[in-house]
């Protein structure tokens, strides 16, 4: 807003002294520059990936698995299928625990455990993704070996604090008087929460889940030693599974052009997925 009002200062405000006018222009220019600095990386990354990756995004990219090292062709079907499976499994954990936690924080502020849970959730939000991977490694991989499920658990843990936070926030937006109306009808509190408050906040919760998904969809670190990666399409969650970030990591660090090309296309796809998810999230929160 201030950027726009300072865009035409000299003509629209004839009464300003030259010094103020100069300062106004300078500040306007600084604000404009800052805006460019903020937006430029996104546009540059997107442009680069479009230029480099769009060419590799052909039918093969979506329908074939990576070609052996040094050969041309192939695609990332294994990674696309793997990412979708792991995100679906991670959602079960992230949404289940996250929404429950958010309800607890928003609806039971007088509970003695509430401050502890709030603090733990905040700490959880700050734990690095790779540490979450280690947790899943210790919990699952050490006993059962690398698996898509282990990767999904790591991603699910990452989703939990995000979903907790957004769920709590949107539940608090539902007016207290709606809860009181429910209670005054002689409904028990859990029914009021489940059937009246939660539906009223559903749009916001969906938004939070979408954002959490978009956030973890691009994580490679927690998957390195959990899902591990798989050159073939795997539908068995107890076996190693590939994911887009893993293939991007593998391809981008490869010596072969062909692999790098696939990695760039994979990165482009990932960004498009995240972009689409964010748009969906906005749409979900605006409906109603």
């Amino acid at each position: 807003m201030s950027a726009r009002s300072s865009a035409l200062p000299a003509r629209s405000r004839p009464g300003l002294s030259p010094a103020r006018r100069a300062r106004n222009l300078l500040m306007g220019a600084l604000i404009g520059l800052s805006t460019v600095i903020v937006v430029a990386p996104l546009i540059l990354i997107f442009g680069y990936l479009l230029r480099e990756g769009l060419g590799a995004m052909n039918l093969d990219f979506f329908t074939r698995t990576p070609a052996p090292e040094g050969e041309t062709g192939g695609g990332l079907l294994n990674a696309i299928v793997g990412s979708l499976q792991m995100l679906a499994m991670a959602s079960v954990l992230g949404v289940g625990v996250g929404v429950a936690g958010g309800i607890f924080l928003a609806e039971y502020p007088r509970h003695p455990l509430m401050p502890t849970v709030r603090m733990l959730s905040d700490v959880l939000a700050g734990i690095p993704a790779i540490v979450m991977g280690l947790v899943a490694y210790g919990l699952i991989v050490l006993q059962f070996g690398f698996s898509g499920l282990a990767g999904a658990v790591a991603l699910g843990f990452l989703m939990i604090p995000i979903v907790v936070r957004t769920t709590e926030e949107v539940l608090k937006l539902v007016p207290l008087t709606v809860r009181e109306a429910g209670l005054s009808l002689g409904l028990p509190q859990w029914l009021v929460i489940l059937r009246i408050v939660l539906p009223a906040a559903a749009g916001g919760i969906v938004t939070g889940v979408m954002l959490a998904l978009a956030r973890v969809a691009g994580e490679a670190a927690p998957l390195l030693f959990t899902a591990f990666g798989n050159p073939l399409v795997s539908l068995d969650p107890t076996k190693p599974m590939s994911a887009l970030p893993l293939e991007i990591f593998r391809g981008a660090t490869s010596a072969y052009d062909e692999n790098q090309r696939l990695a760039k296309a994979g990165a482009l796809l990932l960004i498009l997925i995240i972009f689409a998810t964010s748009l969906l999230a906005r749409w979900a929160s605006r409906r109603r």
Partner: protein, 253 residues
């Protein structure tokens, strides 16, 4: 006289260290409209909410004394607040229909959410409650539309219908018309006289004319004390306490 529906005995309510209501004694007869009047912050709403155990949810709020509904002490140990609230309905200051529900679902929510599935019975309850709230004719063709699409006055009558649907013995109304225009206010006032046939009403109001128009008895609260309680005509025309007289003649408040 028959036994009163509601008796308050030495009811005091604290918020933390602050005392909001001091030793109130009051009884309410069946099938009457009873008004609680008084200036802002005098404790009338606080007292009203205690009769629905709404303070259970307010951190730091404490209710002492006895509130007896039809022979049962609402605050006795072991009494289920949920069961008590089922017998006492409440209409709030601002219309608060459940935002995601249709008009119909709002009205029958008290039954439907506790497991009543019988469509015919729900329909019958909905019609009876909406007629009771003088809303049936306006919404009978749009029962499936969102309740938030109704006007403010209609929403408030919807909330009355919703409270009536669970057949409360006592209906509490917390300034139910303060957010409404004069026409909607008049409709709700007209309604109350009819409602006496099915329930008993305790209404908090800022508007003394409203109290004079609709109620059988009036209680005047001041600074947490119940100053005077009596038949409405008497309270307004020949109050016993000079503070009541000062208030009803408009010298303060």
């Amino acid at each position: 006289m028959s036994t009163p529906l509601l008796t308050a005995q030495d009811v005091s309510i604290h918020y933390g260290d602050k005392q909001a209501v001091r030793g109130v004694n009051l009884s309410i007869e069946r099938g009457t409209v009873n008004a609680l009047i008084g200036p802002s912050g005098c404790g009338k709403t606080t007292f009203l909410r205690a009769i629905n155990r709404m303070h259970d949810l307010t951190p730091g709020a404490r209710v002492t004394g006895r509130i007896v509904l039809d022979g049962e002490d609402m605050y006795a140990p072991g009494v289920d607040a949920v069961a008590m609230r089922r017998r006492v309905g409440m209409v709030f200051q601002k219309p608060n229909p459940f935002p995601t529900m249709s008009v119909f679902d709002n009205v029958v929510s008290g039954l439907k959410l506790t497991g009543v599935r019988d469509r015919a019975r729900l329909m019958e309850v909905a019609e009876r409650s909406l007629r009771g709230a003088a809303l049936w004719d306006e919404v009978k063709d749009r029962l499936k539309t969102p309740a938030t699409g109704l006007s403010g006055g209609q929403q408030q009558r919807l909330c009355i219908a919703r409270a009536l649907a669970v057949e409360p013995e006592l209906l509490l109304m917390d300034e139910p018309t303060s957010a409404l225009d004069p026409a909607s206010t008049a409709r709700i006032e007209d309604l109350m006289t009819g409602l006496k046939k099915v329930t008993t009403i305790l209404i908090v109001t800022h508007n003394m004319h409203q109290a004079a128009r609709v109620s059988d008895t009036t209680s005047f609260f001041l600074n947490g004390d119940l100053v005077e309680h009596g038949v409405t005509d008497q309270v307004f025309t020949s109050p016993r306490d000079e503070r009541t007289e000062a208030y009803v003649t408009g010298r303060f408040g």
